[in-house]
Assembly symmetry: C2
Protein backbone atom coordinates (compact mmCIF):
# COMPACT_ATOMS: atom_id res chain seq x y z
CA UNK A 1 0.00 0.00 0.00
CA UNK A 2 1.16 3.56 -0.67
CA UNK A 3 2.77 5.71 2.02
CA UNK A 4 1.40 9.25 2.03
CA UNK A 5 3.66 12.20 2.79
CA UNK A 6 2.83 14.57 5.60
CA UNK A 7 1.19 17.23 3.46
CA UNK A 8 -1.17 14.66 1.89
CA UNK A 9 -1.98 13.22 5.30
CA UNK A 10 -2.78 16.66 6.68
CA UNK A 11 -5.03 17.45 3.72
CA UNK A 12 -6.84 14.13 3.95
CA UNK A 13 -7.08 14.09 7.72
CA UNK A 14 -7.88 17.66 8.61
CA UNK A 15 -9.44 18.96 5.38
CA UNK A 16 -12.99 18.56 6.72
CA UNK A 17 -12.30 20.29 10.03
CA UNK A 18 -11.55 23.82 11.14
CA UNK A 19 -12.65 26.93 9.29
CA UNK A 20 -13.86 25.08 6.24
CA UNK A 21 -16.54 23.12 8.00
CA UNK A 22 -17.67 25.50 10.70
CA UNK A 23 -19.52 28.73 10.71
CA UNK A 24 -18.53 31.33 13.23
CA UNK A 25 -15.27 32.86 14.30
CA UNK A 26 -13.09 29.78 14.15
CA UNK A 27 -9.58 30.00 12.71
CA UNK A 28 -8.12 27.71 10.09
CA UNK A 29 -5.69 25.95 12.37
CA UNK A 30 -4.48 23.57 9.72
CA UNK A 31 -3.08 26.57 7.86
CA UNK A 32 -1.72 28.48 10.83
CA UNK A 33 0.49 27.94 13.87
CA UNK A 34 -2.41 27.69 16.30
CA UNK A 35 -6.17 27.30 16.43
CA UNK A 36 -8.46 29.99 17.69
CA UNK A 37 -12.09 30.73 18.40
CA UNK A 38 -13.45 34.18 18.99
CA UNK A 39 -16.14 35.05 21.43
CA UNK A 40 -18.37 37.42 19.48
CA UNK A 41 -19.59 39.23 22.57
CA UNK A 42 -16.30 39.67 24.37
CA UNK A 43 -14.17 39.94 21.20
CA UNK A 44 -11.47 37.87 22.84
CA UNK A 45 -9.62 35.12 21.03
CA UNK A 46 -9.11 31.80 22.77
CA UNK A 47 -5.96 30.52 21.10
CA UNK A 48 -4.82 26.92 21.45
CA UNK A 49 -2.09 24.69 20.13
CA UNK A 50 -1.39 20.98 20.55
CA UNK A 51 1.99 19.56 19.67
CA UNK A 52 3.17 15.99 19.98
CA UNK A 53 6.82 15.24 20.59
CA UNK A 54 7.90 11.70 19.79
CA UNK A 55 11.28 10.98 21.38
CA UNK A 56 12.56 8.74 18.56
CA UNK A 57 11.96 11.54 16.03
CA UNK A 58 12.27 14.72 18.04
CA UNK A 59 14.76 14.03 20.82
CA UNK A 60 18.39 14.04 19.68
CA UNK A 61 21.10 11.94 21.31
CA UNK A 62 22.26 13.51 24.55
CA UNK A 63 18.92 15.10 25.40
CA UNK A 64 17.96 14.54 29.04
CA UNK A 65 14.40 13.71 30.16
CA UNK A 66 14.24 17.20 31.67
CA UNK A 67 15.18 18.74 28.33
CA UNK A 68 12.65 16.58 26.45
CA UNK A 69 9.78 17.66 28.70
CA UNK A 70 10.83 21.29 28.55
CA UNK A 71 11.16 21.20 24.76
CA UNK A 72 7.67 19.74 24.38
CA UNK A 73 6.25 22.83 26.09
CA UNK A 74 8.61 25.24 24.29
CA UNK A 75 7.36 24.04 20.89
CA UNK A 76 3.78 24.97 21.79
CA UNK A 77 4.75 28.24 23.46
CA UNK A 78 6.63 29.20 20.30
CA UNK A 79 3.49 28.74 18.21
CA UNK A 80 1.52 31.06 20.48
CA UNK A 81 4.42 33.53 20.53
CA UNK A 82 4.14 33.70 16.73
CA UNK A 83 0.47 34.61 17.12
CA UNK A 84 1.35 37.30 19.66
CA UNK A 85 -0.57 35.44 22.37
CA UNK A 86 0.53 34.67 25.91
CA UNK A 87 0.00 31.01 26.79
CA UNK A 88 -1.72 30.77 30.16
CA UNK A 89 -2.47 27.09 30.65
CA UNK A 90 -1.06 23.79 29.54
CA UNK A 91 -2.35 20.22 29.52
CA UNK A 92 0.21 17.45 29.16
CA UNK A 93 -0.25 13.86 28.06
CA UNK A 94 2.64 11.56 28.57
CA UNK A 95 3.23 8.15 27.00
CA UNK A 96 5.98 6.14 28.62
CA UNK A 97 7.44 2.76 27.73
CA UNK A 98 7.71 0.51 30.76
CA UNK A 99 11.51 0.47 30.61
CA UNK A 100 11.55 4.20 31.41
CA UNK A 101 8.99 4.09 34.22
CA UNK A 102 11.67 4.75 36.85
CA UNK A 103 12.22 7.50 39.40
CA UNK A 104 15.12 9.13 37.62
CA UNK A 105 13.36 9.48 34.27
CA UNK A 106 10.07 10.64 35.80
CA UNK A 107 11.68 13.17 38.13
CA UNK A 108 13.58 14.58 35.18
CA UNK A 109 10.37 15.03 33.25
CA UNK A 110 8.64 16.73 36.19
CA UNK A 111 11.57 19.08 36.52
CA UNK A 112 11.50 19.93 32.80
CA UNK A 113 7.81 20.83 33.00
CA UNK A 114 8.52 22.98 36.08
CA UNK A 115 11.26 24.85 34.25
CA UNK A 116 8.95 25.52 31.31
CA UNK A 117 6.25 26.80 33.68
CA UNK A 118 8.69 29.20 35.30
CA UNK A 119 10.34 30.38 32.08
CA UNK A 120 7.12 31.18 30.25
CA UNK A 121 4.78 32.02 33.10
CA UNK A 122 2.20 29.38 32.28
CA UNK A 123 0.43 26.85 34.48
CA UNK A 124 0.35 23.14 33.82
CA UNK A 125 -3.20 22.40 34.93
CA UNK A 126 -3.71 18.80 33.87
CA UNK A 127 -1.93 15.66 32.83
CA UNK A 128 -2.55 12.16 31.56
CA UNK A 129 -0.18 9.24 31.88
CA UNK A 130 -0.09 6.22 29.59
CA UNK A 131 2.11 3.31 28.65
CA UNK A 132 3.55 3.00 25.14
CA UNK A 133 5.48 0.18 23.49
CA UNK A 134 8.77 1.87 22.63
CA UNK A 135 8.75 5.62 22.44
CA UNK A 136 8.35 8.25 25.11
CA UNK A 137 5.65 10.60 23.80
CA UNK A 138 4.93 14.09 25.12
CA UNK A 139 1.80 15.82 23.93
CA UNK A 140 1.21 19.36 25.15
CA UNK A 141 -1.80 21.57 24.59
CA UNK A 142 -1.34 25.19 25.54
CA UNK A 143 -3.99 27.86 25.47
CA UNK A 144 -4.35 31.51 26.21
CA UNK A 145 -6.62 34.50 25.65
CA UNK A 146 -5.81 37.54 23.60
CA UNK A 147 -7.37 40.70 22.22
CA UNK A 148 -5.30 40.44 19.06
CA UNK A 149 -3.90 37.70 16.90
CA UNK A 150 -1.22 37.82 14.19
CA UNK A 151 -2.26 35.52 11.37
CA UNK A 152 -0.13 34.07 8.61
CA UNK A 153 -2.30 35.78 6.04
CA UNK A 154 -1.64 39.47 6.70
CA UNK A 155 1.56 40.18 4.69
CA UNK A 156 1.04 43.13 2.29
CA UNK A 157 3.01 44.23 -0.75
CA UNK A 158 5.63 46.73 0.36
CA UNK A 159 6.02 45.17 3.83
CA UNK A 160 9.45 44.11 5.01
CA UNK A 161 10.33 40.52 5.90
CA UNK A 162 12.03 40.08 9.25
CA UNK A 163 13.43 37.40 11.55
CA UNK A 164 13.96 37.39 15.29
CA UNK A 165 17.43 35.84 15.29
CA UNK A 166 20.09 33.87 13.49
CA UNK A 167 19.55 30.59 11.71
CA UNK A 168 21.45 27.35 11.24
CA UNK A 169 22.40 26.58 14.83
CA UNK A 170 19.94 23.69 15.35
CA UNK A 171 20.83 21.67 12.22
CA UNK A 172 24.52 22.18 13.00
CA UNK A 173 23.91 21.25 16.63
CA UNK A 174 22.09 18.11 15.62
CA UNK A 175 24.99 17.02 13.41
CA UNK A 176 27.40 17.72 16.27
CA UNK A 177 25.29 15.79 18.79
CA UNK A 178 25.00 12.86 16.40
CA UNK A 179 28.77 12.85 15.86
CA UNK A 180 28.30 13.54 12.17
CA UNK A 181 30.19 16.85 12.16
CA UNK A 182 32.87 18.61 14.20
CA UNK A 183 33.59 22.18 15.13
CA UNK A 184 36.88 23.76 16.20
CA UNK A 185 35.02 26.90 17.34
CA UNK A 186 34.10 26.37 21.01
CA UNK A 187 31.56 29.22 21.03
CA UNK A 188 29.79 27.88 17.95
CA UNK A 189 30.01 24.29 19.18
CA UNK A 190 28.35 25.18 22.46
CA UNK A 191 25.73 27.50 21.00
CA UNK A 192 24.73 25.02 18.28
CA UNK A 193 24.32 22.15 20.75
CA UNK A 194 22.42 24.31 23.21
CA UNK A 195 20.04 25.47 20.47
CA UNK A 196 18.95 21.84 20.10
CA UNK A 197 18.94 20.81 23.76
CA UNK A 198 17.55 24.04 25.24
CA UNK A 199 15.54 25.80 22.56
CA UNK A 200 14.02 29.15 23.46
CA UNK A 201 10.58 30.32 22.41
CA UNK A 202 10.55 34.03 21.49
CA UNK A 203 7.57 34.76 23.68
CA UNK A 204 8.54 38.20 25.04
CA UNK A 205 9.35 39.38 21.56
CA UNK A 206 6.14 37.99 20.07
CA UNK A 207 4.05 39.74 22.71
CA UNK A 208 5.87 43.06 22.38
CA UNK A 209 5.88 43.03 18.58
CA UNK A 210 2.32 41.72 18.15
CA UNK A 211 0.65 45.01 17.25
CA UNK A 212 3.37 45.93 14.76
CA UNK A 213 3.45 42.76 12.64
CA UNK A 214 1.27 42.06 9.61
CA UNK A 215 1.98 38.30 9.59
CA UNK A 216 4.07 35.89 11.60
CA UNK A 217 5.03 32.21 11.85
CA UNK A 218 7.42 30.35 14.10
CA UNK A 219 10.25 28.67 12.31
CA UNK A 220 10.03 25.08 13.40
CA UNK A 221 10.11 23.31 10.02
CA UNK A 222 12.82 25.46 8.42
CA UNK A 223 13.17 29.06 7.27
CA UNK A 224 12.40 28.44 3.59
CA UNK A 225 9.15 26.53 4.21
CA UNK A 226 8.11 29.07 6.86
CA UNK A 227 8.52 31.89 4.34
CA UNK A 228 6.53 29.89 1.79
CA UNK A 229 3.73 29.36 4.32
CA UNK A 230 3.48 33.11 4.97
CA UNK A 231 3.63 33.94 1.25
CA UNK A 232 1.02 31.29 0.45
CA UNK A 233 -1.43 32.41 3.13
CA UNK A 234 -1.00 36.08 2.23
CA UNK A 235 -1.13 35.69 -1.57
CA UNK A 236 2.22 37.41 -2.12
CA UNK A 237 5.84 36.64 -3.07
CA UNK A 238 8.97 37.40 -1.04
CA UNK A 239 12.35 38.69 -2.25
CA UNK A 240 15.16 38.02 0.20
CA UNK A 241 18.34 40.03 0.22
CA UNK A 242 20.02 38.38 3.15
CA UNK A 243 20.55 34.91 4.63
CA UNK A 244 20.42 35.33 8.42
CA UNK A 245 23.30 32.96 9.21
CA UNK A 246 24.35 32.29 12.78
CA UNK A 247 27.75 33.56 13.91
CA UNK A 248 30.41 30.98 13.10
CA UNK A 249 28.10 29.09 10.74
CA UNK A 250 30.26 29.77 7.69
CA UNK A 251 33.32 28.38 9.45
CA UNK A 252 31.40 25.31 10.61
CA UNK A 253 30.04 24.74 7.10
CA UNK A 254 33.45 24.95 5.44
CA UNK A 255 35.04 22.76 8.14
CA UNK A 256 32.45 20.07 7.34
CA UNK A 257 32.03 20.64 3.59
CA UNK A 258 28.43 21.77 4.03
CA UNK A 259 26.49 24.52 2.27
CA UNK A 260 25.86 27.29 4.82
CA UNK A 261 22.68 28.42 3.03
CA UNK A 262 21.31 24.88 3.26
CA UNK A 263 21.80 25.09 7.03
CA UNK A 264 20.16 28.52 7.20
CA UNK A 265 17.13 27.84 5.00
CA UNK A 266 16.48 24.13 5.51
CA UNK A 267 17.45 23.37 9.10
CA UNK A 268 14.40 23.86 11.22
CA UNK A 269 13.69 23.93 14.96
CA UNK A 270 15.08 27.45 15.33
CA UNK A 271 11.88 28.57 17.08
CA UNK A 272 12.67 32.05 15.80
CA UNK A 273 9.84 34.25 14.57
CA UNK A 274 9.59 34.94 10.84
CA UNK A 275 7.38 37.94 10.17
CA UNK A 276 6.35 40.80 7.92
CA UNK A 277 5.61 44.40 8.83
CA UNK A 278 5.01 47.85 7.42
CA UNK A 279 8.33 49.72 6.96
CA UNK A 280 7.13 52.50 9.30
CA UNK A 281 7.60 50.05 12.21
CA UNK A 282 11.21 49.23 11.23
CA UNK A 283 12.96 51.26 13.89
CA UNK A 284 10.78 49.99 16.71
CA UNK A 285 11.08 46.38 15.59
CA UNK A 286 14.81 46.69 15.09
CA UNK A 287 15.06 47.82 18.72
CA UNK A 288 13.10 44.73 19.73
CA UNK A 289 15.61 42.56 17.87
CA UNK A 290 13.96 41.93 14.50
CA UNK A 291 16.35 42.01 11.50
CA UNK A 292 15.19 42.70 7.96
CA UNK A 293 16.02 39.99 5.41
CA UNK A 294 13.81 40.98 2.48
CA UNK A 295 10.58 42.46 1.26
CA UNK A 296 7.07 41.49 0.22
CA UNK A 297 6.33 41.80 -3.50
CA UNK A 298 3.33 41.05 -5.67
CA UNK A 299 2.67 37.48 -6.75
CA UNK A 300 4.49 36.93 -10.07
CA UNK A 301 1.97 34.43 -11.36
CA UNK A 302 -1.30 36.25 -11.34
CA UNK A 303 -3.60 33.35 -12.03
CA UNK A 304 -5.86 31.98 -9.31
CA UNK A 305 -4.17 29.42 -7.07
CA UNK A 306 -0.69 30.12 -8.43
CA UNK A 307 2.14 28.95 -6.20
CA UNK A 308 4.05 31.59 -4.27
CA UNK A 309 7.72 32.32 -4.98
CA UNK A 310 10.43 33.13 -2.47
CA UNK A 311 13.63 34.31 -4.12
CA UNK A 312 17.04 34.78 -2.56
CA UNK A 313 19.59 36.86 -4.47
CA UNK A 314 17.35 36.56 -7.57
CA UNK A 315 17.13 32.73 -7.52
CA UNK A 316 14.02 30.88 -6.46
CA UNK A 317 14.50 29.18 -3.10
CA UNK A 318 13.29 25.58 -3.47
CA UNK A 319 10.10 24.96 -1.53
CA UNK A 320 10.88 22.18 0.89
CA UNK A 321 11.09 21.77 4.62
CA UNK A 322 11.22 19.16 7.25
CA UNK A 323 8.39 16.70 6.82
CA UNK A 324 7.36 13.65 8.74
CA UNK A 325 6.84 10.48 6.72
CA UNK A 326 9.32 11.51 4.03
CA UNK A 327 11.09 8.49 2.64
Amino acid sequence: METLDEESIIRLLWGGFGAGSHSGAVGDPFNDDAAWVRNSRRKKFLVAKADMMVASTDAPPGMTPEQMARKAVVACVSDLAAKGVKPSYCLVSLGLPKKLANTSFISGIASGFSRAEAEYGLKIIGGDTNSTLEDPIFDCSVFGYSDILIKRSGARIGDLVGVSGKFGYPPAGLLLLMGKAKSSDPYFNDRARQSVLEPQARLDLGLRAARLLSSCIDCSDGLAISLYHLAQSSGVDFELSKAPAGEGLDGFASENSLDPNELVFYGGEEYELVCTFNPRHSLMLSRLGISVIGSVVSRKEEKEGAAPKVTFESSVLPRRGWLHFKS
Copy 2:
Protein backbone atom coordinates in the same frame (compact mmCIF):
# COMPACT_ATOMS: atom_id res chain seq x y z
CA MET B 1 16.22 -0.27 37.73
CA GLU B 2 12.81 -0.32 39.43
CA THR B 3 9.58 0.02 37.42
CA LEU B 4 7.14 2.38 39.09
CA ASP B 5 3.41 1.71 39.00
CA GLU B 6 1.02 4.27 37.60
CA GLU B 7 0.00 5.76 40.94
CA SER B 8 3.64 6.35 41.92
CA ILE B 9 4.37 7.87 38.52
CA ILE B 10 1.42 10.21 38.81
CA ARG B 11 2.47 11.29 42.30
CA LEU B 12 6.08 11.86 41.26
CA LEU B 13 5.27 13.47 37.95
CA TRP B 14 2.32 15.68 38.74
CA GLY B 15 2.70 16.23 42.49
CA GLY B 16 4.25 19.68 42.01
CA PHE B 17 1.64 20.91 39.55
CA GLY B 18 -2.02 21.85 39.72
CA ALA B 19 -3.79 23.13 42.81
CA GLY B 20 -0.92 22.35 45.13
CA SER B 21 1.52 24.72 43.51
CA HIS B 22 -0.73 27.50 42.28
CA SER B 23 -2.70 30.19 43.96
CA GLY B 24 -6.02 31.16 42.43
CA ALA B 25 -9.02 29.26 41.27
CA VAL B 26 -7.26 26.33 39.69
CA GLY B 27 -8.62 22.83 40.18
CA ASP B 28 -6.65 19.81 41.28
CA PRO B 29 -6.77 17.97 37.98
CA PHE B 30 -4.57 15.14 39.12
CA ASN B 31 -7.31 14.21 41.57
CA ASP B 32 -10.29 14.80 39.33
CA ASP B 33 -11.55 13.89 35.87
CA ALA B 34 -10.66 17.21 34.31
CA ALA B 35 -8.71 20.39 34.99
CA TRP B 36 -10.32 23.74 35.47
CA VAL B 37 -9.56 27.38 35.99
CA ARG B 38 -12.08 29.91 37.11
CA ASN B 39 -12.24 33.46 35.94
CA SER B 40 -12.85 35.39 39.16
CA ARG B 41 -14.64 38.23 37.39
CA ARG B 42 -16.92 36.23 35.13
CA LYS B 43 -17.31 33.28 37.53
CA LYS B 44 -17.09 30.88 34.60
CA PHE B 45 -15.08 27.70 34.70
CA LEU B 46 -12.87 26.83 31.76
CA VAL B 47 -12.72 23.04 32.00
CA ALA B 48 -10.21 21.00 30.03
CA LYS B 49 -9.15 17.39 29.68
CA ALA B 50 -6.34 15.74 27.72
CA ASP B 51 -6.39 12.00 27.14
CA MET B 52 -3.91 9.93 25.21
CA MET B 53 -5.02 6.74 23.48
CA VAL B 54 -2.23 4.34 22.58
CA ALA B 55 -3.49 1.80 20.08
CA SER B 56 -1.42 -1.12 21.41
CA THR B 57 -2.95 -0.64 24.87
CA ASP B 58 -6.33 0.91 24.23
CA ALA B 59 -7.52 -0.43 20.87
CA PRO B 60 -8.82 -4.00 21.03
CA PRO B 61 -8.62 -6.42 18.10
CA GLY B 62 -11.28 -5.65 15.51
CA MET B 63 -11.40 -1.93 16.18
CA THR B 64 -11.39 0.10 12.96
CA PRO B 65 -9.38 3.33 12.52
CA GLU B 66 -12.71 5.20 12.55
CA GLN B 67 -13.63 3.62 15.87
CA MET B 68 -10.19 4.39 17.35
CA ALA B 69 -10.41 8.08 16.46
CA ARG B 70 -13.97 8.30 17.71
CA LYS B 71 -13.11 6.55 20.98
CA ALA B 72 -10.21 8.94 21.62
CA VAL B 73 -12.69 11.83 21.62
CA VAL B 74 -15.36 9.91 23.57
CA ALA B 75 -12.94 9.30 26.45
CA CYS B 76 -12.39 13.05 26.88
CA VAL B 77 -16.06 13.93 26.40
CA SER B 78 -16.92 11.42 29.11
CA ASP B 79 -14.62 13.19 31.57
CA LEU B 80 -16.31 16.53 30.92
CA ALA B 81 -19.74 14.85 31.11
CA ALA B 82 -18.83 13.71 34.62
CA LYS B 83 -18.09 17.34 35.53
CA GLY B 84 -21.46 18.43 34.07
CA VAL B 85 -19.67 20.49 31.42
CA LYS B 86 -20.36 20.62 27.69
CA PRO B 87 -17.17 20.21 25.64
CA SER B 88 -17.05 22.90 22.96
CA TYR B 89 -13.66 22.50 21.32
CA CYS B 90 -11.15 19.76 20.70
CA LEU B 91 -7.49 19.70 19.67
CA VAL B 92 -6.13 16.44 18.32
CA SER B 93 -2.55 15.24 18.03
CA LEU B 94 -1.97 12.15 15.99
CA GLY B 95 1.12 9.94 15.94
CA LEU B 96 1.24 7.50 13.05
CA PRO B 97 3.74 4.80 12.20
CA LYS B 98 4.82 4.97 8.57
CA LYS B 99 3.21 1.62 7.78
CA LEU B 100 -0.23 3.13 8.48
CA ALA B 101 0.27 6.38 6.55
CA ASN B 102 -2.10 5.28 3.81
CA THR B 103 -5.35 6.67 2.45
CA SER B 104 -7.59 4.02 3.93
CA PHE B 105 -6.30 4.40 7.49
CA ILE B 106 -6.21 8.20 7.39
CA SER B 107 -9.70 8.52 5.87
CA GLY B 108 -11.02 6.22 8.57
CA ILE B 109 -9.52 8.42 11.26
CA ALA B 110 -10.95 11.59 9.71
CA SER B 111 -14.36 9.96 9.59
CA GLY B 112 -14.15 8.89 13.25
CA PHE B 113 -13.34 12.44 14.31
CA SER B 114 -16.27 13.72 12.21
CA ARG B 115 -18.64 11.28 13.88
CA ALA B 116 -17.49 12.37 17.33
CA GLU B 117 -17.98 16.04 16.37
CA ALA B 118 -21.53 15.33 15.24
CA GLU B 119 -22.48 13.07 18.14
CA TYR B 120 -21.31 15.42 20.88
CA GLY B 121 -21.69 18.82 19.23
CA LEU B 122 -18.09 19.86 19.59
CA LYS B 123 -15.66 21.37 17.10
CA ILE B 124 -12.25 19.98 16.29
CA ILE B 125 -10.33 23.21 15.90
CA GLY B 126 -6.74 22.06 15.59
CA GLY B 127 -4.55 19.08 14.90
CA ASP B 128 -0.95 17.99 14.84
CA THR B 129 0.46 15.08 12.85
CA ASN B 130 3.60 13.14 13.73
CA SER B 131 5.38 9.93 12.92
CA THR B 132 5.87 7.25 15.56
CA LEU B 133 7.87 4.03 15.50
CA GLU B 134 5.18 1.42 16.11
CA ASP B 135 2.00 2.61 17.68
CA PRO B 136 -0.76 4.83 16.40
CA ILE B 137 -1.28 7.45 19.14
CA PHE B 138 -4.30 9.72 19.47
CA ASP B 139 -4.13 12.54 21.94
CA CYS B 140 -7.23 14.68 22.36
CA SER B 141 -7.69 17.80 24.45
CA VAL B 142 -11.25 18.97 24.88
CA PHE B 143 -12.38 22.11 26.62
CA GLY B 144 -15.55 23.91 27.41
CA TYR B 145 -17.01 26.65 29.60
CA SER B 146 -19.46 26.18 32.41
CA ASP B 147 -21.17 28.06 35.22
CA ILE B 148 -21.07 25.00 37.42
CA LEU B 149 -18.78 22.06 37.97
CA ILE B 150 -19.39 18.76 39.77
CA LYS B 151 -16.26 17.82 41.67
CA ARG B 152 -15.27 14.46 43.05
CA SER B 153 -15.14 15.91 46.54
CA GLY B 154 -18.77 16.83 47.19
CA ALA B 155 -20.30 13.56 48.47
CA ARG B 156 -22.02 14.07 51.87
CA ILE B 157 -23.07 11.59 54.53
CA GLY B 158 -26.68 10.57 53.86
CA ASP B 159 -26.34 11.02 50.08
CA LEU B 160 -27.22 8.15 47.79
CA VAL B 161 -24.73 6.54 45.40
CA GLY B 162 -25.93 6.17 41.82
CA VAL B 163 -24.83 4.96 38.40
CA SER B 164 -25.99 5.89 34.93
CA GLY B 165 -26.16 2.39 33.50
CA LYS B 166 -25.17 -1.25 33.71
CA PHE B 167 -21.65 -2.54 34.19
CA GLY B 168 -19.57 -5.43 32.90
CA TYR B 169 -20.23 -5.16 29.16
CA PRO B 170 -16.78 -3.78 28.21
CA PRO B 171 -14.65 -6.40 30.00
CA ALA B 172 -16.91 -9.14 28.60
CA GLY B 173 -16.75 -7.54 25.15
CA LEU B 174 -12.98 -7.38 25.29
CA LEU B 175 -12.76 -11.09 26.16
CA LEU B 176 -15.13 -11.87 23.28
CA LEU B 177 -13.16 -9.73 20.81
CA MET B 178 -9.90 -11.36 21.91
CA GLY B 179 -11.44 -14.81 21.47
CA LYS B 180 -10.90 -15.57 25.15
CA ALA B 181 -14.59 -16.12 25.94
CA LYS B 182 -17.79 -17.06 24.15
CA SER B 183 -21.43 -16.17 24.49
CA SER B 184 -24.49 -18.08 23.32
CA ASP B 185 -26.68 -15.02 23.97
CA PRO B 186 -26.73 -13.00 20.72
CA TYR B 187 -28.09 -9.85 22.42
CA PHE B 188 -25.37 -9.93 25.07
CA ASN B 189 -22.68 -10.84 22.56
CA ASP B 190 -23.54 -7.87 20.38
CA ARG B 191 -24.00 -5.39 23.18
CA ALA B 192 -20.76 -6.39 24.92
CA ARG B 193 -18.71 -6.05 21.72
CA GLN B 194 -20.36 -2.75 20.81
CA SER B 195 -19.64 -1.34 24.26
CA VAL B 196 -15.93 -1.74 23.48
CA LEU B 197 -15.94 -0.68 19.83
CA GLU B 198 -18.47 2.14 20.07
CA PRO B 199 -18.46 3.45 23.63
CA GLN B 200 -20.91 6.22 24.47
CA ALA B 201 -20.13 9.18 26.69
CA ARG B 202 -23.10 10.08 28.94
CA LEU B 203 -22.97 13.74 28.00
CA ASP B 204 -26.70 14.55 27.86
CA LEU B 205 -27.22 12.92 31.21
CA GLY B 206 -24.22 14.68 32.79
CA LEU B 207 -25.48 18.06 31.62
CA ARG B 208 -29.06 17.46 32.73
CA ALA B 209 -28.09 16.02 36.10
CA ALA B 210 -25.29 18.49 36.85
CA ARG B 211 -27.17 20.69 39.33
CA LEU B 212 -28.54 17.70 41.23
CA LEU B 213 -25.33 15.77 41.90
CA SER B 214 -23.01 16.27 44.87
CA SER B 215 -20.09 14.42 43.29
CA CYS B 216 -19.41 12.56 40.06
CA ILE B 217 -16.73 10.61 38.20
CA ASP B 218 -16.72 8.78 34.90
CA CYS B 219 -16.07 5.09 35.17
CA SER B 220 -13.13 4.49 32.88
CA ASP B 221 -10.83 2.56 35.20
CA GLY B 222 -13.48 0.33 36.79
CA LEU B 223 -16.44 0.80 39.11
CA ALA B 224 -14.66 -0.14 42.34
CA ILE B 225 -11.74 2.25 41.86
CA SER B 226 -14.12 5.01 40.71
CA LEU B 227 -16.10 4.64 43.93
CA TYR B 228 -12.87 4.73 45.93
CA HIS B 229 -11.82 7.92 44.16
CA LEU B 230 -15.12 9.64 45.07
CA ALA B 231 -14.96 8.38 48.67
CA GLN B 232 -11.32 9.44 49.00
CA SER B 233 -11.88 12.96 47.64
CA SER B 234 -15.02 13.46 49.72
CA GLY B 235 -13.68 12.04 53.00
CA VAL B 236 -16.50 9.48 53.35
CA ASP B 237 -17.18 5.74 53.03
CA PHE B 238 -19.72 4.05 50.75
CA GLU B 239 -22.01 1.11 51.49
CA LEU B 240 -23.28 -0.62 48.35
CA SER B 241 -26.43 -2.70 48.34
CA LYS B 242 -26.45 -3.60 44.67
CA ALA B 243 -24.06 -4.65 41.90
CA PRO B 244 -25.32 -2.96 38.70
CA ALA B 245 -24.73 -5.94 36.41
CA GLY B 246 -25.50 -5.72 32.70
CA GLU B 247 -28.38 -7.82 31.33
CA GLY B 248 -27.10 -11.27 30.44
CA LEU B 249 -23.88 -10.79 32.37
CA ASP B 250 -24.66 -13.59 34.85
CA GLY B 251 -25.23 -16.02 31.98
CA PHE B 252 -22.03 -14.95 30.25
CA ALA B 253 -20.07 -15.28 33.49
CA SER B 254 -21.33 -18.79 34.22
CA GLU B 255 -20.82 -19.87 30.60
CA ASN B 256 -17.17 -18.83 30.90
CA SER B 257 -16.55 -19.68 34.57
CA LEU B 258 -16.05 -16.05 35.50
CA ASP B 259 -17.14 -14.13 38.59
CA PRO B 260 -19.89 -11.69 37.55
CA ASN B 261 -19.02 -9.25 40.34
CA GLU B 262 -15.43 -9.16 39.11
CA LEU B 263 -16.76 -8.07 35.71
CA VAL B 264 -19.04 -5.45 37.27
CA PHE B 265 -16.57 -3.90 39.70
CA TYR B 266 -13.20 -4.37 37.99
CA GLY B 267 -13.87 -4.11 34.28
CA GLY B 268 -13.50 -0.49 33.31
CA GLU B 269 -14.14 1.56 30.17
CA GLU B 270 -17.87 1.67 30.84
CA TYR B 271 -17.88 5.47 30.49
CA GLU B 272 -20.92 5.45 32.77
CA LEU B 273 -21.26 8.16 35.38
CA VAL B 274 -20.83 7.19 39.03
CA CYS B 275 -22.28 9.84 41.31
CA THR B 276 -23.74 10.84 44.67
CA PHE B 277 -26.74 13.01 45.41
CA ASN B 278 -29.10 14.15 48.13
CA PRO B 279 -32.06 11.71 48.44
CA ARG B 280 -34.50 14.56 47.70
CA HIS B 281 -33.33 14.44 44.07
CA SER B 282 -33.97 10.66 43.74
CA LEU B 283 -37.13 10.85 41.71
CA MET B 284 -35.80 13.38 39.24
CA LEU B 285 -32.53 11.49 38.80
CA SER B 286 -34.31 8.17 38.45
CA ARG B 287 -36.29 9.71 35.58
CA LEU B 288 -33.02 10.76 33.97
CA GLY B 289 -31.78 7.16 34.20
CA ILE B 290 -29.68 7.12 37.37
CA SER B 291 -30.06 3.94 39.49
CA VAL B 292 -29.26 3.86 43.19
CA ILE B 293 -26.65 1.27 44.23
CA GLY B 294 -25.84 2.38 47.78
CA SER B 295 -25.37 5.21 50.21
CA VAL B 296 -22.73 7.53 51.63
CA VAL B 297 -21.73 6.89 55.24
CA SER B 298 -19.22 8.42 57.61
CA ARG B 299 -15.58 7.40 57.38
CA LYS B 300 -15.10 4.40 59.71
CA GLU B 301 -11.52 5.25 60.52
CA GLU B 302 -11.64 8.71 61.97
CA LYS B 303 -7.95 9.43 62.08
CA GLU B 304 -6.43 11.97 59.69
CA GLY B 305 -5.55 10.51 56.29
CA ALA B 306 -7.34 7.20 56.92
CA ALA B 307 -8.14 5.23 53.78
CA PRO B 308 -11.75 5.18 52.60
CA LYS B 309 -13.81 1.98 52.62
CA VAL B 310 -16.30 0.85 50.03
CA THR B 311 -18.34 -2.15 51.19
CA PHE B 312 -20.62 -4.36 49.14
CA GLU B 313 -23.06 -6.60 50.99
CA SER B 314 -21.05 -5.93 54.20
CA SER B 315 -17.67 -6.99 52.75
CA VAL B 316 -14.96 -4.51 51.87
CA LEU B 317 -14.55 -4.23 48.12
CA PRO B 318 -10.82 -4.53 47.36
CA ARG B 319 -9.38 -1.24 46.17
CA ARG B 320 -7.93 -1.94 42.76
CA GLY B 321 -8.60 -0.85 39.22
CA TRP B 322 -7.06 -0.82 35.84
CA LEU B 323 -3.58 0.64 36.00
CA HIS B 324 -0.98 1.25 33.35
CA PHE B 325 2.49 -0.16 34.04
CA LYS B 326 1.15 -2.98 36.21
CA SER B 327 3.26 -6.08 35.82
